[in-house]
């Protein structure tokens, strides 16, 4: 049987006898729209995920523009308060479940098989299904805006009883959308775990794997443990709303605070689901442009695992103001602060990797360095919020908004942009416009700080989050923040142009190793990446030679 250019799924079918004949071995991608509907190829599915995430990013960003436009001045200017609440809710939900998570899954789809020398993901048909659930779930979520009573307006945390007793009818569609998104995430996680454990090149040990693969492998376990809890929460919401149960209804013997416990038992690991793959991306990019092996590879792996474990035992730091016993507050405070230790190990290792390196600052490196600096600011404000007595002051203010946007925008989103600039030439065989990309970087990095940094001051001065109107003393910083927001939003127009221009008109790249000092199996395959790769699994020598964390004397 020839296996040079077949789909993994085709080969599986051939072995198990699912196909009577098998004469279409030497095919590339199919033509037309059906290619994308029926594809089981990890590169196609990765591309679909990334474009879907980008679309949702633009939609969620448009909602953010509505929020910042309303907050440009005190008083009600543009939208009704109820619609404002729908915007904050859907902005959060779309960005978390529609943009950041699918973007990382897209990067995983493209890169994990290439980085471990696998032909494809382990379960290609399930991979297709995981993706194609998303557009329907996203459309259902967005459709709630056009329903009677409007869309969900209870915040992305959908606390009961706002999301049960007092919610609009459209909430049932929201619940179904969350079920579908969660199902997609769980299937994606199963696929990643099965791929890493079973599809690695036979000569690649776990501790030979690149950091991006490791961080995604650990993230997949977080998804497996956290997403079913979210599914349980929305299922209980559904039965409370429609079938007469009282899980979260105090009048029926239920407990609304229990909803918060369940939500944050999912919600805090969710934060790490959105940041651990970012750590992996930065750990790939920095060694390339510092021209040094990654410092402290094994400590990076253990730190990632430590963060993942700790993420499950700190959830109630989101709930310090719910009347928790002092002993509980003390425990959750110290456990939260403990996370800064493995996170500090990571930041130390990135800086040490750069230390005395022959550094250059191509666009991916600019984003990676910006990530290290700005994510650390988000980490520091997280430490402040983790201190229980201080949190009494900060809770539910714009300080929290500033904190998590530093983590999720200048952290997660920046790493995704870094990854796209880093791997795009490998994917499409064309180089982006470096000059425009640098202009975009500085535009975005300056504007994002104008957008979010003043929100620290607003929060410290007491401005609550999720309000369409505010007292006069908050006017100046809100105006500055909105100007930054509009500029940051506009930067995505330029980003879209840079990406599309690269794909359509970019200078052709043919060298397998697009970045001269990049290490990794993905840089050993031709550029652009062929439709099918690694028919022959790479050997041990090549795996070690391409390791970004092992320095072999005389091998560069």
């Amino acid at each position: 049987m020839s296996t040079t250019t077949t789909d993994l799924q085709d080969e599986i079918d051939a072995i198990t006898g699912s196909h009577g004949t098998h004469d279409d071995h030497h095919h590339g991608p199919k033509k037309g729209l059906l290619r994308w509907v029926k594809t089981t190829n990890h590169k196609d599915i990765g591309t679909l995920y990334i474009w879907f995430a980008f679309t949702m990013l633009l939609i969620g960003g448009a909602f953010a523009m509505v929020i910042r436009a309303e907050l440009f001045q005190p008083g009600l200017q543009l939208v009704e308060p109820q619609f404002f609440n729908q915007m904050t809710t859907l902005h959060g939900l779309i960005m978390v479940f529609g943009a950041i998570m699918p973007a990382f899954v897209g990067l995983a789809n493209w890169q994990i098989p290439l980085m471990i020398g696998a032909k494809d993901m382990a379960l290609p048909r399930m991979n297709n299904w995981s993706f194609w659930i998303l557009p329907f779930a996203g459309a259902m979520l967005l459709s709630t805006l056009f329903m009677k009573g409007g869309g969900p307006a209870f915040g992305w945390t959908f606390y009961a009883p706002l999301s049960t007793t007092f919610a609009p009818d459209s909430t049932d569609f929201f619940i179904f959308a969350i079920h579908m998104l969660g199902f997609s995430s769980i299937m994606g996680a199963i696929n990643i775990i099965a791929t890493v454990l079973n599809m690695r090149a036979p000569d690649m040990k776990l501790m030979d794997m690149p950091l991006f693969v490791w961080t995604w492998f650990i993230t997949a376990f977080l998804l497996i443990a956290a997403m079913p809890v979210l599914a349980g929460a929305v299922t209980m919401m559904l039965t409370d709303r429609n079938f007469g149960t009282s899980f979260f209804d105090a009048a029926g013997g239920g407990d609304p605070v229990m909803f918060q416990h369940i939500f944050w038992f999912f919600g805090h690991p969710e934060v790490y689901i959105m940041i651990l793959p970012a750590f992996g991306i930065v750990s790939q990019i920095i060694p390339t442009f510092a021209r040094k092996p990654l410092f402290g590879y094994s400590s990076m792996v253990y730190a990632t695992a430590s963060i993942a474990l700790l993420s499950f035992v700190v959830w109630a730091h989101h709930m310090f103001l719910t009347g928790m016993p002092i002993a509980g507050q003390m425990y959750f405070m110290y456990a939260t602060i403990l996370i800064s230790v493995p996170t500090g190990v990571k930041v130390f290792n990135w800086i040490t990797t750069m230390w005395k390196g022959s550094m250059t600052f191509e666009t991916p490196m600019l984003w990676a360095v910006a990530f290290v600096i700005l994510f650390t600011i988000g980490g520091f404000s997280g430490l402040m919020l983790g201190i229980a007595p201080a949190d009494i002051q900060y809770h539910d203010t714009y300080f929290v908004v500033a904190h998590f946007h530093y983590v999720l925008v200048t952290g997660a989103l920046f790493s995704i942009i870094a990854a796209v600039f880093y791997w795009l030439p490998k994917w499409c065989g064309r180089m982006y416009n470096e000059k425009l990309a640098r202009i975009h970087f500085w535009w975005a990095v300056i504007s994002v700080n104008i957008l979010f940094f003043p929100q620290h001051f607003l929060g410290l001065a007491g401005m609550p989050r999720r309000i369409p109107d505010y007292s006069l003393q908050f006017a100046d910083f809100n105006m500055i923040s909105s100007i930054g927001g509009f500029a940051f939003g506009a930067s995505f127009i330029l980003l879209t142009y840079i990406i599309v221009d690269c794909i359509r008109n970019g200078k052709r790249v043919t060298e397998p190793r697009v970045w001269e000092s990049a290490k990794g199996l993905e840089w050993t395959i031709p550029t652009p990446a062929p439709y099918h790769t690694f028919d022959e699994p790479p050997k041990k020598e090549q795996i070690l030679k391409e390791s970004s964390h092992i320095h072999i004397e005389g091998v560069h």
Partner: protein, 38 residues
């Protein structure tokens, strides 16, 4: 090990892993509902 044998081995392993991990996810879902029902 031939390429076909490797693929067969990988496929078996992937199915086993997916079944176990999927089972764990479903068990966590049921446990969440159960713990809130008692």
């Amino acid at each position: 090990m031939t390429e076909d044998e490797l693929l067969e081995k990988q496929r078996k392993g992937a199915r086993r892993t997916a079944t176990i991990v999927g089972g764990i996810a479903f068990a966590i879902f049921l446990l969440t509902l159960y713990l809130n029902s008692v």
